[in-house]
């Protein structure tokens, strides 16, 4: 495992949405490949901002963010988008799905956007069959053609998880994907997510303000502790 580059390697990161107003200041943060990391912090502490930096949607004001050894800031923005789509699966808190696409179409999207991700589908399956396989794996077998607007919140989150997992991206980032689920659903969802991440040997960075979830991860990080912005 150690011969693989770190999934996430952050050094001397400074970020502010506006000049002079720092939101984040991190000395180092490293997530090893294959790790299952829990990051927590109160609302407004900069969790989503950090994920944006890791995903290459935001560019650091100072410092470096390397994903799988690649410094995203050195890539032109179009390649950065491609890099994200190819290597990162992203899960939002809520409303993860494109409302006008079906369940399988939503799941298949990353592979249709990125050839490399399509190429990583194993077992000689095409995109649609792989999307279907993942849907079934995430217990969505009977909703393949249901309009996503007719799914329950828990079902929607599982569709989003399937979409994040398709084409085996190395890094799965989840921004409070369980906050809208009740405890039972949340546990079942996490279980499935873990199983699938293990199957795909993916690194998982899971963000939540709900500390109670932390026990199920390899590593628990507190953003307010790491973040020294604003003299904290």
């Amino acid at each position: 495992m150690s011969d693989r580059p770190a999934a996430i390697a952050i050094e001397d990161l400074v970020f502010g949405y506006r000049p002079g107003r720092e939101v984040l200041r991190l000395d180092t943060l490293t997530v090893a490949a294959g790790d299952r990391v829990f990051l927590h912090g109160p609302s407004g502490s900069g969790k989503t901002t950090l994920l944006g930096l890791i995903a290459g949607v935001l560019t650091p004001t100072e410092g470096r963010v390397r994903i799988l050894g690649q410094d995203l800031a050195t890539l032109p923005s179009s390649q950065r988008d491609g890099y994200r789509g190819t290597h990162i699966g992203y899960l939002f808190q809520l409303f993860n799905l494109i409302p006008y696409l079906s369940v399988t179409e939503n799941i298949a999207l990353p592979c249709r956007l990125h050839a490399k991700r399509r190429a990583r589908i194993g077992g000689g399956l095409d995109i649609a069959s792989e999307a279907e396989r993942l849907a079934v794996r995430l217990e969505l077998g009977q909703f393949l053609t249901t309009p996503v607007t007719e799914l329950s919140v828990g079902q929607q989150q599982r569709v989003a998880a399937a979409r994040a997992l398709i084409g085996a991206p190395e890094l799965i980032i989840a921004d409070e994907p369980t906050s809208a689920l009740d405890t039972d659903l949340r546990d079942r969802f996490l279980e499935l997510l873990f199983e699938c991440c293990d199957e795909a040997k993916a690194t998982l960075l899971f963000v939540s303000h709900d500390l109670a979830l932390g026990t199920r991860f390899h590593r628990v990080l507190s953003l307010p502790t790491l973040n020294t912005a604003g003299g904290r």
């Binding site: 944006g52 995903a55 988008d81 789509g85 409302p99 006008y100």
Partner: protein, 454 residues
């Protein structure tokens, strides 16, 4: 390809707005193309009304007035032409044929055209067609009347119907020529020209009808004057050797009531006046010279016009009205496009989430902008073609109506380069309009990052 599929699905998802937007663009496109087609149709129809005639000659006056009154049955003629003058020009060595025309009467608002059989022989319209009788025969005698198809239909006339014509062009009533009824002997085949809305009688018929009437028309418009007949009861067919100035042309005086006046000279014995005459030259190149000669005639001041030139002048003079119509349709199109802008722009807020999702999946802001441009482009393309279809649909329905009510035949032709230019312009404008929400979405995408804003 994926972007196109996403655009299509997204439009389908917002079905109602999509349909409304497409319809508003389609309507403006159909107006734009429709006005153009009708404009060109009217021009072609007018140009097709008179073919093969080299010169139209009438009393000195405006060329538009002459053209309109003599061929299109619109407005009153400027004056009259002496029979002797007509005869003189008819005999001109450069002239192949002439059609005398005497106007000034009407039948329930339809124009009465006094002419000779030369009209049916030499008058050509679209595609060089002749005016022929669809039912019955052409006129021969003084009491014969041949009517256009529209006259027959609206007045419900058939072969053998007796009709009374009215002096002057207005209505019926006090100045009906009741004492001189005519019998319908023929109904003309449809020509889609003003001929369909005209009533044709012989020059002798005109004369006979006006027998004993005051030479000046009572309602003020210039009524061709008819001199009292020298031989009471005489008609063209019974021109006798006693008439002064016997026709010099061989075989001109038709013997024993044959009645068919085939040559203008057969009327030499009559001192009536004409409203105008149409003329064909032996060599078309002589038209201009002949026109100059006529316009500078010392004996009687005449106006001779080349139909095509006069039509061009006409289009030139009504150009401002066409420009006005174009400006209005252009404005309607702009409103349609603005409607699309509003429709797309107003969805941006609710679609911010969708944009953030696409962004998280590795779609760049450029792709997201492209999605919106594609959507507006699709709306414009579909709108443009639906509009084109609408034009042809409406033309199919309107063609018959225009033909029946205005004698204007609007040909349905495949879209020409101007139509394609319009369509292309609408599509380009649609894409340009799409750039506005696209730019906004681009900005939103960069600003929002992976934050989902509700």
């Amino acid at each position: 390809m994926l972007t196109l599929q996403l655009a299509l699905r997204s439009l389908r998802n917002r079905r109602l707005t999509t349909i409304l937007t497409v319809m508003s663009i389609a309507l403006s496109v159909s107006l734009l193309v429709g006005v153009e087609t009708v404009r060109r149709g009217i021009r072609e129809s007018f140009a097709g009304t008179i073919r093969g005639t080299d010169l139209i000659v009438g009393a000195r006056g405006g060329s538009q007035q002459l053209l309109m009154s003599s061929v299109f049955g619109l407005g009153a003629p400027a004056g009259s032409v002496e029979w002797s003058t007509y005869e003189r020009w008819a005999r001109h060595p450069g002239v192949a044929w002439t059609i005398p025309i005497s106007l000034g009467d009407s039948y329930y608002g339809y124009r009465v055209v006094g002419t000779t059989s030369a009209f049916f022989e030499h008058y050509h319209y679209r595609n060089d067609g002749n005016v022929t009788a669809a039912e019955g025969r052409l006129f021969e005698g003084e009491r014969d009347v041949v009517i256009g198809i529209e006259v027959a239909k609206t007045r419900q006339l058939s072969i053998g119907s007796e009709i009374v014509l009215t002096h002057g062009l207005r209505g019926t009533g006090i100045s009906d020529h009741e004492e001189h009824p005519f019998t319908v002997v023929g109904i003309l085949a449809r020509t889609s020209t003003p001929v369909d809305r005209s009533v044709f009688i012989t020059l002798e018929g005109i004369e006979g009808m006006h027998e004993g009437m005051a030479p000046e028309s009572p309602d003020g418009w210039t009524q061709p004057k008819f001199a009292p007949l020298q031989l009471p009861g005489a008609d063209g067919a019974s021109a006798t050797p006693t008439a002064p100035a016997p026709p010099p042309m061989p075989g001109a005086a038709a013997p024993e009531g044959e009645g068919l006046a085939t040559s203008a000279d057969e009327h030499a014995g009559h001192a009536h006046k004409l409203t105008a005459f149409l003329l064909g030259t032996k060599a078309r190149s002589a038209s201009l010279m002949l026109q100059r000669q006529m316009n500078t005639d010392r004996v009687e001041p005449l106006t001779a016009i080349l139909p095509a030139v006069a039509l061009t002048e006409l289009w030139h003079s009504i150009g401002y009205a066409e420009d006005g119509a174009r400006i209005i349709t252009g404005a309607v199109l702009i409103v349609g496009l603005l409607g699309m802008l509003v429709a797309l722009y107003s969805t941006l807020q609710e679609r911010r989430r969708e944009m953030a999702i696409l962004r998280s999946l590795g779609a760049g802001p450029g792709r997201i902008a492209a999605l919106l441009v594609l959507e507006s482009g699709l709306l414009a393309v579909v709108g443009a073609f639906v509009g084109l279809g609408l034009v042809y649909g409406l033309l199919g329905v309107g063609q018959g109506l225009a033909e029946r009510h205005f004698g204007v035949y609007i040909p349905i032709t495949p879209p020409g380069s101007l139509e394609w230019l319009y369509l292309g312009g609408v599509i380009v404008a649609g894409v340009l309009v799409g750039l506005v929400p696209a730019w906004r979405a681009y900005r939103n995408t960069l600003q929002d990052g992976l934050t989902i804003r509700l």
